[in-house]
Symmetry: C2
Subunit: 410 residues, 2 copies
């Protein structure tokens, strides 16, 4: 799972980094009783208001907290404190839900001594239940900038059916200054493009204006977070938020800054790492699948085809069973509704080419099966029809997925 070769050499990934790796950010999490035993209430805080940019689910039933957060950012495009609970999504909750999200915002602002419009609110979990505000208030009372609360607690507090925390950091050089980006994410079920019960929080010390930050976030999201799928469902609560606290001392990043592309590459690398970790931890998943679609006539087509393959339940179960049933890959390419010349298509399962010019090759079945037993599987579809490409990430479909989702609620 390598980045493109054109990646700027000054960019390095800190796999063990966190959302608090850029200086000026603290985080924490506690247990309030929203979940039985696990941490369920977290916060992320910048010591000064940070320039903020967000992307949000396209689901018609957008949850109340996302509305409150968007309204907050509209005021002066800055956020200082993020507050997030798990267990209850506060979606499909009407006016009461909106009011509760506002209360969560206002009481957080008071506790942390920041402006209410500098507080972003997030919820994730079950749709259609009202937030138990007594528990939310218990959480708010415990908020603090103290180091007694740690980023690890924050990363745990935002999880739902996730089995591991997702975090990373990336560093790059801008104007000769080291700029750091950190990220935390949650995902798991209902993961699909356009921000499906997926939360991503990115921090950076870069000096950057709101507009170029938002533009970078949107383009990067389209090729990372929006290219993962676990089960094709897009949630009511998904969002990625980036906070830039301007501490790195670089010249202000605008679209004209010569190092703006470096910042975008760094954000891409960070987002790709987080996206892969989400896909890898899909509900019941045992394997990370990466689909590379290469040499297409347009990026849009490449993305659509990659998503078609990564979303196929038949491909996902074949990977689970280590069955080199490449016909399902070809079939998914064929129903993507993108124009494809069937006679030019090559398909590779890792290093094993299984289709050449649309026809099956007499490949080494044992070698292919052995490859599919790995924990990270690459499927490459070469369309020989242009020079655009796209990647998508997902996971296998397993018995455990059914177990988790047949009884999530009860």
């Amino acid at each position: 799972m390598n980045m493109t070769n054109t990646m700027n050499k000054s960019i390095r990934c800190l796999e063990q980094g966190h959302v608090t790796t850029p200086s000026g950010f603290t985080a924490g999490g506690v247990h309030t009783g929203l979940r039985k035993k696990k941490l369920d209430f977290g916060w992320l805080h910048s010591d000064i208001p940070a320039v903020a940019a967000g992307v949000y689910t396209t689901n018609t039933f957008q949850a109340a907290p996302l509305k409150v957060t968007q309204e907050a950012i509209e005021v002066d495009q800055k956020i200082q404190t993020i507050v997030c609970n798990s267990a209850i999504a506060n979606a499909c909750t009407g006016h009461i839900g909106y009011k509760n999200a506002k209360i969560m915002q206002e009481e957080t602002a008071e506790k942390m001594n920041v402006a209410a419009h500098h507080v972003a609110v997030y919820s994730t979990g079950l749709i259609g239940e009202q937030l138990p505000m007594d528990k939310i208030k218990t959480g708010i009372e415990q908020m603090s900038e103290q180091s007694a609360y740690q980023v690890d607690a924050f990363e745990h507090a935002i999880l739902t059916t996730d089995t591991v925390t997702k975090h990373a950091a990336v560093q790059c050089e801008i104007d000769g200054k080291t700029v750091t980006l950190g990220g935390a994410a949650k995902g798991s079920g209902m993961i699909e493009p356009n921000m499906a019960t997926m939360l991503g929080f990115v921090t950076t010390d870069a000096v950057i204006e709101h507009e170029p930050l938002l533009k970078a976030l949107r383009s990067v999201t389209d090729q990372t977070f929006n290219m993962i799928t676990v089960d094709g469902d897009s949630s009511t609560n998904d969002s990625v938020l980036v906070l830039a606290n301007q501490r790195a001392g670089n010249e202000t990043l605008t679209e004209d800054h010569p190092d703006y592309p470096v910042f975008i590459q760094a954000l891409t690398l960070l987002s790709e790492k987080l996206a892969q970790k989400i896909a890898e931890d899909g509900e019941g998943a045992t394997k990370l699948i990466e689909v590379n679609v290469t040499n297409t006539h347009s990026v849009t087509a490449a993305r659509k085809i990659a998503k078609s393959v990564i979303s196929s339940n038949l491909v996902k179960t074949a990977v689970y069973g280590a069955d080199p049933n490449w016909g399902r890959v070809v079939c998914a390419v064929g129903y993507s509704n993108e124009p494809v010349n069937p006679d030019l298509v090559d398909v590779f399962l890792g290093p094993v080419q299984v289709v050449s010019g649309g026809l099956p090759l007499a490949f080494d079945e044992e070698k292919a099966t052995d490859y599919l037993k790995n924990k990270a599987i690459e499927i490459t579809v070469d369309l020989h029809d242009g020079d655009e490409s796209a990647k998508a990430w997902g996971c296998d479909l397993t018995y455990q997925y059914v177990t988790i989702n047949a009884s999530y609620r009860t």
Copy 2:
């Protein structure tokens, strides 16, 4: 699962009817060794060339037999013999695959003493392997109009992972004459709109021209076969073919004939029965799910929303687990990309209303759970935004689905 109330009273369903219920059609099936033990080679024969109309998969990788069949129908819009094998799909097989389908057509024509362009060829099964022509020829040698071969054998011979045969017949009155329609289908995995590894064969004794027959088939398919989904994959081989042998003695059906709508209703009822049977027998399914989307501003929107809900893995697993997790239904409505007013949406699980005006109701959880333990589940989404509606059918997602598809090939 009732038809609309406007159904013409003269139309009656013969649940135990077959593709040979209309007079003049015979069918049979044999075992040739394509499958280990099960019947794998079937045929359907009309004693005279019948007016034919077909619809075919939109998958880019359309299988060779579908090309041969389409070319045959183009000649004079008539078919007399249908030949079909299971086990091997003859898809992604290039020039050799096309030639093999032609040989299958020509040798069938010779054996049955009909014109080659009056033979329609079908295959279903694994993608990317060439047909073992020795076995196909063994099958052709055994073809006959004799009653020693029965329609039950035909219905079995076209199956792949299906667990039961699918058949029905319908009768209606046209010009005071009884017109009969019979149908056989296969489905199971890879079932999704636009004809996904689904085969449907419909026979009728109606007197009807090619154009009105094709028009009827297309409109009926859009609201029946194209509204079922098992796993969202659209196959390379799907097709529905209708043969009309003109024996009923009615005045020739054209679009201007006053009873043309009766014929369409009869074809709709037959197709809906077959579609339901396919959905009900989805791979690993334990339950048939029907999604009714009502009061939308357009049929297209209603269909898209119904398909979004019926295709949701989260809805499918919730039904499997009898979990009244209505949030997943609302969520799927929300990501259908159709404009919906969230504040007007009502949702019912069978008789139990769970959402009113976009907000959760305090419903009787036990009653809802009990309802979801039924074998046939209706989910109704009322959008209060017009007077169009659509239905979609699917099945639950189970452990057995994973078992079947993790090892279909090996």
